[in-house]
Structures are given as C-alpha cells and as structure tokens.
C-alpha cells in the first residue's frame, strides 16, 4: 500500500509542499467536459499548471486537445467543470477578460493591418498611451527580428515571418499564459527545429506559462516540462517527458509513443515482486505495478518494453526470451532499428545504439531477450 502514497509525488514535477504549489498555479482545470451534439470532445480533463511551466498537450487528431485549449481561452464554453487562471475562477469569463494570449494554428493575422499595427493591437486594447505603444512595438519588433517588416501586410510575408509576427502579437501584452495551437505545424520542416529552440528559450526567459498543443511527439518531449497525453477526449497520462517515455501508464500511451513494444495477455502467476504474464507469443516476467492494486490471476493486462532494452546479446538477466524473424533493418546513424515479425503477426522493434557493426540481417531468425525490470505494466484494465 505504500505504493499508493507515492502517486501524487510522482505527478508533481517540483517537490514543494501542496499549499505552496496551489498558490503558484498559473492554471487549473477541474473536470472539464465539453460535448458538441453527440460527440464528446473533452471528458473530465483535470490539469494543474505551475508558474512558468511549459505544458504540451499531445495526442492524435480529434482527441480533444484543441478543444481543451479553446476552453482555456474562453472560445468554447465547457459544459461542466472549472477553469482557474492564476488562482481566480475564470470559467464564465469571456476571452477578452482572461489573462491569456493565443497563437492560432494558421496564425490568424489580421489581413488589413500592417505588422506594427497588428503587434500593437493588444496594447491598444489595454488603452495604453499612443507614445508608449509605438515605443513598445518598436522594441518587440526588433527583439523578434522583424523590425524591417513593420509596414508590411501579412499577405506579403513568408510562413516564418508570419509565425514571428503572430508570436510578437501574442507576447506583447505579457499574459500569464500563452496558448499555442500547433504553432509550428504550418512551418517548413527545416525551420521547425530552430523555431522550437527559440520558443523554448523565450519561454524560459519570460517565465510565461506555455500551453502547447501538438500531435508531434518530438515537439512534446523535447519542449514540455509537463507532457499531457490525450486520447478520445480523456487524459491518458500526464507527467514529465522521461516518465511518459519510460513508464507509459496505458496501452494507448505505449502504442502512441515511438519505440515501445506492446504485449497483451493475462496474469498467469503472482511471483515475489513480479507477475508472470501469458501472451500469444510466450510467458514473460513483468514487475508488479508501482501504484494501484496487483492484478488478479487470470485478469487481462498489457505491458510494454522499449525497443532499446531488447537485445540479441543474451545474458542471464534477460529472463524474457522470444524468437522472431527480422523483416527490415533501418540505419539512422546513431541508432540501428531492426523490425521483427512476432509469431502472432505483430511487429517487434529492437534498437541498437552506437556505431556497432550490423549483427542481424533481414530474414534471419533470432532469439531476443530483455530483463524482467525492462517490462512496464500498464494501468488497470490494460486499456
């Protein structure tokens, strides 16, 4: 039962006491629900964002991440639940009264305004004096390196320039939270990495909380302090990137995150500190769950193993063994990925890191193994 008590500690990124954490929250979502007709877009989403945190909402399209973001912005009215921004109840506040700014997927620049006008719009709405607006716009434009574009209209800007203008327009009022809906999805692939790094640095410098919606796990894991994986309108798992990568909580997360091998089966036996799980391709040893009750014998479970933890260089500690036929080998420089076909027709991925010589050739049958601790058991129900 001591494992139960560990759960909240695992979820809060910084180990400060709870009362402190509450006061520091930039955003709190309590059980948000939203449906459009018969379609449930967001179902019981709860989320806590501490001061200056970089949060990534990750999930496949239609999983409710954008609707969640729009609820935070006030552009959608949740049917149920509470939204607290900076500790203040904001559920019923219209968008123009919330301490947020938003960057839209296609940037939503006003076609009829020059860049300078556009960027100053937020300050104008705050009724700042004209001279101050002009001064501040000049500063911001030069800090975003778009001062030369001040008199241009959006139609004459490139994708990267529009992105900067949209960001400058959203950031100039220094909101508590910046909401970003697939902010780099519209950019050329070559530009994305640079822009990602810039945005991360900007976020760290300004201390503004970023809530970043994406379907790209590379973005989510390299940027987020907190990654929230969503599927079918619900949060599947939230935590720091390492935790989600190393300990996927559900079968969906394990399947969605690259580099996991998913196994489904049922509990055959409860051992000391471990379970033995019978699957279609063999019986495997899996550690007992860190939290929650131990599944009963016979109950369906799923577990996953990361591709880099499976090896063909077997040792005694690799208690789980599996024979499979290699179908393809892909070489990426730092990693060599082998794709195997399991006896049940599913694919099995094995990654070999470092510039070693190729050991396995396609069409070769190989016995693979992994240590008992390398398996990660998924949450109850094995969703």
């Amino acid at each position: 039962m001591d494992s139960l008590a560990r759960d909240p500690v695992e979820r809060v990124a910084t180990p400060i006491d709870n009362a402190m954490a509450k006061r520091q929250l930039d955003l709190e979502l309590r059980n948000i629900r939203k449906r459009f007709g018969d379609f449930i877009a967001v179902d019981g989403v709860s989320l806590e964002v501490s001061k200056g945190q970089f949060v990534c909402l990750l999930g496949p399209s239609g999983c409710g991440k954008t609707t969640t973001l729009r609820c935070i912005a006030g552009l959608e009215d949740p049917d149920d639940g509470d939204i607290l921004i900076g500790g203040k109840e904001a559920t019923k506040d219209p968008p123009w009264q919330r301490d947020i700014a938003m960057m839209f997927q296609d940037f939503a620049l006003f076609p009829h305004m020059t860049v300078a006008r556009q960027v100053g719009f937020g300050l104008e709405m705050l009724k700042k004096p004209k001279a101050e607006i002009v001064e501040r716009v000049k500063q911001v434009l030069s800090s975003f390196e778009i001062a030369a574009l001040a008199d241009r209209k959006p139609a004459s800007l490139s994708g990267g320039q529009r992105q900067r203008v949209a960001l400058a327009r959203a950031m100039i009022t220094e909101p508590r939270i910046l909401l970003l809906d697939e902010p780099i999805g519209a950019l050329d692939y070559s530009l994305r990495e640079t822009v990602m790094l810039e945005l991360k640095l900007l976020q760290q410098r300004t201390g503004i909380s970023f809530i970043w919606v994406t379907h790209d796990q590379n973005e989510a894991f390299s940027l987020g302090d907190l990654v929230v994986v969503m599927n079918h309108a619900r949060i599947e798992q939230q935590g720091p990137p390492e935790e989600i990568l190393q300990r996927p909580a559900t079968a969906f997360v394990a399947g969605f995150v690259q580099g996991n091998n998913l196994f489904r089966g049922h509990v055959k036996e409860v051992l000391a500190g471990a379970l033995s799980v019978e699957t279609a391709v063999g019986v495997f040893v899996v550690p007992r769950p860190l939290a929650g009750p131990i599944p009963m014998v016979g109950s369906p479970v799923s577990f996953s193993v990361r591709a880099e933890l499976i090896t063909d260089a077997l040792a005694d500690r690799h208690v789980n063994r599996l024979s499979a036929i290699c179908t393809a080998v892909e070489y990426f420089g730092a990693v060599r990925r082998h794709v195997f076909e399991r006896a049940d027709g599913e694919l099995l991925k094995v990654d070999q890191f470092g510039a070693h010589a190729a050991r396995i050739a396609p069409r070769q049958r190989v016995v693979l193994g992994w240590a008992g601790e390398a398996s990660v058991l998924h949450g109850a129900g094995g969703r």
Partner: protein
C-alpha cells in the same frame, strides 16, 4: 494545347466582338448625347453651333437646381438607409444564422422577389401604400390611427419606402460575400487580444467588409439616380427626380434639354464611382490572406 498569352494578337482579336458591341451601344450613344446637349439655336439639326447655352439655361432655373439637389439628398438618404439595413441583414444571415438550411431559405426569400421586374415590384407597392392599402388597413385594424394616412402613396415617404425595399438587397449582397470571407479565427484572435465584441466588429470585421459596403453603395447610388419608374408609379405626378426630368423633356420633344439632364446625371454617377474607387479598390474584390 495552346494557351493565349497576354498581349498576344489572339487576345486582341478575342476582345473585338465585345469591344464592337460596347462601342455601338454605349460609347456612340454617349458621345451623341453629349453632342446634342451642346447644340445651340432652336433648330433640331446637326448643323447647330456648339454652345453651353443649354447648360446655363438649366442652371439659371432654380426649380431645376433644387430638383438636382433634392435628387442628391434623396439618393444619400437611400444609401444611408439601405446601407445600414443591408449590413444588418447580411450580418444576421452570415454570423447569426447557424444552420445552413435556414441560411439558404432566408437568402432565397430575400432574392426571389428580384426575379420579377423592377417596374412590377414598384407597382406592387401601390396597393400597400394607398389610402385603402394594406398598411393603412393594418394600422386602423390595430387602432393605431383613426383615419387612413394619406402620406404614404404619392409622397416622398412612399417613394423612399418602396426604393428601400427594392435596393436593400443590392447593399446587402456584396456584404454577405465579404462577411463570408472573414475567417472566424480573426475574430477569435482579436478576442484573445482583449477586444470586446463591438471593438472586434469595428476594428476587424468592418474594415475587412468595407469593399462590400462600398460596392453595395455604388449599386444603390447608380440605381436610385437612374430610377424613374418607381418615382413615377409611387410618386404620381407630384414628385420627380432628375431622371424623371429626362423623360419629361423627352416627351415634350425637348431633346436638347433631355440630353443636358442626361449628361449631368452621368457626370454625377461618374463622380460617385470615382469617389468610391478612392475609398477602396473594388477591382480587387476578396480578402487577401
């Protein structure tokens, strides 16, 4: 497959039929009108000396000048009324009616009357506005008035009412088109930048639909300036605008005077269109993204 390049000989040849037609039915008559309006003397002959006498005679008559001014005032009133009404209708259709079925139904309800001729629609107002007309019957039925109001038919009010109904859709149509091009995320972006709804409208939606407003105003302006049928039917013999004067002179065989008024009308319209083009470049319809 061949394509016709800009400024190639073929593209000029393709323009010939339309150019010839326009020359025959637009350019030549206008030149003739202008020429006839300058004929001096009393004889109706091409040998007449060219003078501005006809024009000075027109401007020397205060009745005509007053008529010209009241025509401009009347047109301005109509532009204002149809502009506001048309924008409201367009905004309602595009922004407030959510169901596509309802939107189509309402839009059809607005445009189906336009399948009949302007003259018939103007005449159709007579049984509405008359002393025993529908409006008076309704008002008396409701007890709003004891005796029928005579001011509707054969009055300036009646003319205005009929013309508003005739031309509001001309003001609304281009605005509907422009409003459809206003992406929802522009309004949402403005809202997240702390703009309350009216500011969103005034700073984002309205400027983006301005070309539609201007085109609508140009259409109303041109139509009201040249509309003599409605004025003649609803206004009876008591009221006239510049365009009725053309007809009056023509029927009185005063061809030179008719030409003068026609030329003045055309100049007014030309000035109106030039002003509109100054406000917004209506040749570049559509919102640039």
């Amino acid at each position: 497959m061949s394509t016709i390049r800009v400024r190639s000989p073929a593209s000029y040849w393709l323009a010939v039929p339309a150019a010839a037609w326009m020359l025959g039915v637009v350019v030549v008559p206008i030149v003739l009108l202008a020429w006839v309006s300058l004929w001096g003397g009393r004889a109706f002959s091409a040998a007449s000396a060219l003078t501005f006498d006809n024009y000075s005679r027109f401007f020397a008559n205060p009745t005509y000048v007053k008529l010209a001014l009241s025509t401009l005032m009347h047109t301005a009133t109509l532009m204002a009324v149809t502009g506001v009404l048309g924008y409201c209708i367009a905004y309602f259709l595009v922004m407030k009616v959510k169901s596509p079925g309802w939107r189509t139904a309402l839009f059809l309800a607005f445009i189906i009357p336009f399948w009949t001729s302007t003259l018939i629609r103007a005449i159709a107002w007579v049984p509405f506005l008359g002393v025993n007309g529908v409006i008076n019957q309704a008002l008396m039925g409701l007890g709003a008035t004891q005796s029928p109001i005579e001011a509707f038919l054969y009055s300036r009010t009646g003319i205005t009412m009929a013309q508003v109904s005739l031309y509001t859709m001309m003001a609304a149509g281009p605005v509907v088109y422009m409003l459809n091009a206003v992406a929802p995320q522009w309004r949402e972006a403005a809202m997240t930048l702390k703009a309350p709804p009216f500011v969103v409208f005034w700073r984002v939606v309205f400027p983006l639909t301005l070309p539609g407003v201007v085109i609508g105003q140009v259409l109303v302006f041109l139509n009201v300036m040249s509309d003599f049928a409605t004025v003649a039917t609803i206004g009876g013999n008591k009221h006239a605008l510049l365009s009725n004067l053309v007809l009056l002179f023509y029927e009185g065989s005063q061809i030179r005077a008719a030409s003068v008024v026609a030329v003045l009308l055309m100049i007014c319209m030309l000035v109106g269109v030039v002003i509109a083009l100054r406000v917004v470049d209506i040749r570049r319809l559509g919102v640039e993204r």
